[in-house]
């Protein structure tokens, strides 16, 4: 049997996938890109030997990354997705009919091309007229826009190419481009394995935003599973949804929205490093 072993150097446990067939393998200007067919997970999308999504469970990540912020804001009209060239996050964003304009800022054109060809289940909405795709560095693009309601960072690992998307300077620019009701959201790795990274991002965001929180959801195909998301808001408490739930989601609903946040007690214990593992 052919297998693929994920190479996330900082993960203490390695994931190995059975491979039925390699559908695409190539290099772009920025990274190595691969799509393979797995008997267990369907199509698997890989960047620099790290699994980005699988056909079977991609909606866990895409729904959770998108809908908490999008339901906290009562009426999101302008949205920016940084990264996310596969289109999965954009598909979720467009479920919100209030959205008038959605920028997709992907540095690597090849990712979008490969996704359109091999991953239609996530890329299908990239041709929607509300979507405007920019092939450029998100950290630069963010400086050129304003009055954005939601900024979603859907990037690769913080230690790699996406590093600038986790810097204080970037968060400052995000703050500046957001409308007075605006929110920012990003994934911040596994609480199980890299709690210190999640804490670091929370602390950096707190220097800039008045409301910063963390929520989490289990994602089986990301090493460490217990996946965390950082959310920062100018006005609304992200723990409380402020709009009707959009149709079509599989996991997200208003009850789930409230449930994904850590109890405040545990949140504080983790942030103060009173509990360590």
């Amino acid at each position: 049997m052919v297998t693929f072993t994920e190479n996330e150097p900082f993960s203490p446990i390695k994931y190995q996938y059975a491979v039925e067939k390699i559908l695409y393998k190539g290099k772009s200007q920025f990274q190595e890109i691969m799509v393979f067919e797995s008997p267990d997970f369907g199509k698997v999308f890989v960047l620099d030997n790290i699994v980005q999504l699988t056909e079977r469970d991609e909606f866990f990540y895409h729904e959770m990354l998108t809908h908490i912020a999008m339901h906290t804001h009562p009426n999101p009209r302008k949205v920016v997705v940084i990264g996310g060239g596969d289109g999965g996050t954009m598909r979720e964003v467009l479920r919100h009919l209030s959205v008038e304009k959605a920028y997709l800022v992907e540095i690597d054109k090849k990712v979008v091309e490969v996704a359109k060809k091999y991953l239609p289940f996530v890329s299908s909405k990239l041709d929607d007229p509300r979507v405007e795709i920019h092939y450029t560095d998100g950290a630069e693009f963010i400086k050129s826009i304003n009055n954005i309601d939601i900024v979603i960072v859907d990037s690769t690992d913080a230690i790699g190419m996406a590093r600038t998307l986790y810097s204080e300077e970037f968060f400052n620019n995000v703050y500046k481009c957001l409308s007075p009701d605006g929110l920012y959201v990003s994934h911040t790795e596994s609480l199980g394995f890299h709690r210190e990274m999640a804490i670091e991002v929370q602390n950096t965001l707190k220097k800039i935003f008045p409301i910063v929180d963390l929520y989490s959801f289990p994602i089986a195909t990301y090493p460490g599973n217990w996946w965390s998301f950082a959310i920062a808001s100018k006005r609304f408490d992200p723990r409380i949804p402020n709009k009707e739930q959009v149709p079509g989601t599989k996991l997200y609903d208003h009850e789930v929205h409230k449930w994904v946040f850590l109890p405040k007690t545990l949140y504080l214990r983790i942030m103060n490093e009173d509990v360590q593992w």
Partner: protein, 398 residues
């Protein structure tokens, strides 16, 4: 600009994700940074300093300034309440500048110049080491009324940086010296010190050393001289390319040996250098060229034996994290292509300036690429010279 580095499984065991993130973010923000540059992770430094001595009851920690005497770094340690171990007037001047009080200073250099002794004495330092009659005579003359401790020899097997026979004496001689100091009534013998060797990976060295020290304590007790201090030196190892036991593991052992051997109440002095700063530092270096000579592949870095990596001569092996400029070709490389053997050399024209031979590197090194060298906080910049005009790495605390 975001630079990409080739991170392997081994790297992550030596350097934490958070530290690497901080270092890489700093590099991104400073595209024109001058190399070689030693970046120090302050958080890790504080963490090391906090855990040192934690498991050894009744202990005091004196940072061995020789490991890295950067003034900002010393300031951080001073503010955490650590003491300092020094060997020269130059080091004393540094501590004076920081207004370190004399009771926080000791010297474990067994052969001191009279002017060093004098300046310590005038500053109010009380603890002095000796291991020879000549040193006792100097102390008698220049530091009357001081407390003295004697240095004994102990095995250094299994330490990666053994301290030859330069210092220390055997028990009989040590006992004679203590008696002599006691008879003079000008120096009060107060204790014993030893050094198991730097980067000591063999915990049994501490066992033998503590056992030997206890014998000397007993010999003195029988002669009516009560010793109170055991200075266990430094020697705690850090991880370079192999995973070394951590501070906790070493101190659990030391503490159990102390418990087993000593029934009386004694005060323990610890003099760590490497264990406090070593793994907090990442050297940022640049490849200045590559060459193929006969069948050997060579990489030349802008940091070498003379300007920072002196310990490579004594057998310390470093880890290298190479920058990766993304290959655009689609050619699959074979295992043998990928893991080529390299000789890593420094920039100077001295043929001794070779950091390491036969390094297997899974990368494609090219001029101008950066190379990160973790665990480079101790005995690097403090050893460095400007030989051949190559600069000593600057230090930046993150």
């Amino acid at each position: 600009m975001v630079r990409k580095f080739k991170i392997s499984d081994l790297h992550k065991r030596i350097i934490s994700k958070k530290t690497l993130f901080k270092v890489l973010t700093y590099i991104d923000k400073n595209p024109d940074l001058e190399t070689p540059l030693l970046l120090i992770d302050k958080e890790k430094l504080v963490q090391n300093a906090k855990s040192l001595g934690e498991l050894i009851p009744n202990s005091r920690v004196f940072y061995a300034v020789k490991a890295n005497s950067d003034i900002e770094l010393l300031k951080i340690l001073k503010n955490m309440g650590l003491g300092f171990e020094i060997a020269s007037r130059g080091e004393l001047e540094l501590l004076k500048k920081l207004e370190v009080p004399p009771e926080k200073i000791i010297t474990s250099n067994p052969v001191k110049s009279p002017d060093f002794i004098q300046s310590l004495y005038n500053y109010g330092v009380k603890y002095f080491v000796f291991d020879s009659i000549s040193e006792i005579e100097k102390l008698e003359k220049w530091a009357p009324g001081c407390f003295g401790y004697v240095r004994i020899t102990v095995p250094n097997e299994g330490s990666e940086w053994p301290l030859s026979k330069k210092f220390g004496v055997e028990l009989d001689m040590a006992f004679d010296l203590i008696k002599r100091a006691n008879d003079l009534k000008i120096i009060s013998p107060i204790g014993v010190t030893f050094h198991v060797g730097s980067q000591c990976l063999n915990p049994y060295n501490w066992y033998i050393a503590i056992d030997k020290a206890k014998r000397l304590f007993d010999m003195c007790k029988d002669a009516g001289i009560k010793l109170k201090i055991l200075n266990i030196g430094g020697g705690y190892p850090i991880s370079y390319t192999k995973i070394a036991p951590n501070i906790r593991e070493i101190e659990e052992k030391i503490s159990s040996y102390l418990n087993e051997k000593f029934d009386e109440d004694i005060e323990i002095f610890i003099e760590p250098g490497r264990a406090i700063v070593g793994d907090t530092g990442i050297m940022v270096s640049k490849i200045i060229g590559t060459a193929k000579r006969d069948y050997e592949n060579w990489i030349y870095l802008d940091v070498g034996i003379f300007n920072g990596l002196m310990e490579a001569i004594g057998g310390i092996k470093y880890l290298y994290i190479f920058e990766q400029t993304t290959p655009v070709n689609n050619k699959e490389s074979s295992f043998f292509d990928r893991y080529k053997k390299w000789t890593v050399a420094g920039p100077s024209c001295d043929s001794m300036d070779v950091i390491e031979k036969n390094v297997y590197i899974d990368a494609d090194p090219k001029s101008e690429q950066l190379v990160l060298i973790p665990s480079a906080g101790a005995y690097t910049v403090s050893y460095a010279s400007e030989f051949n005009g190559f600069p000593i790495p600057k230090i930046k605390i993150l």
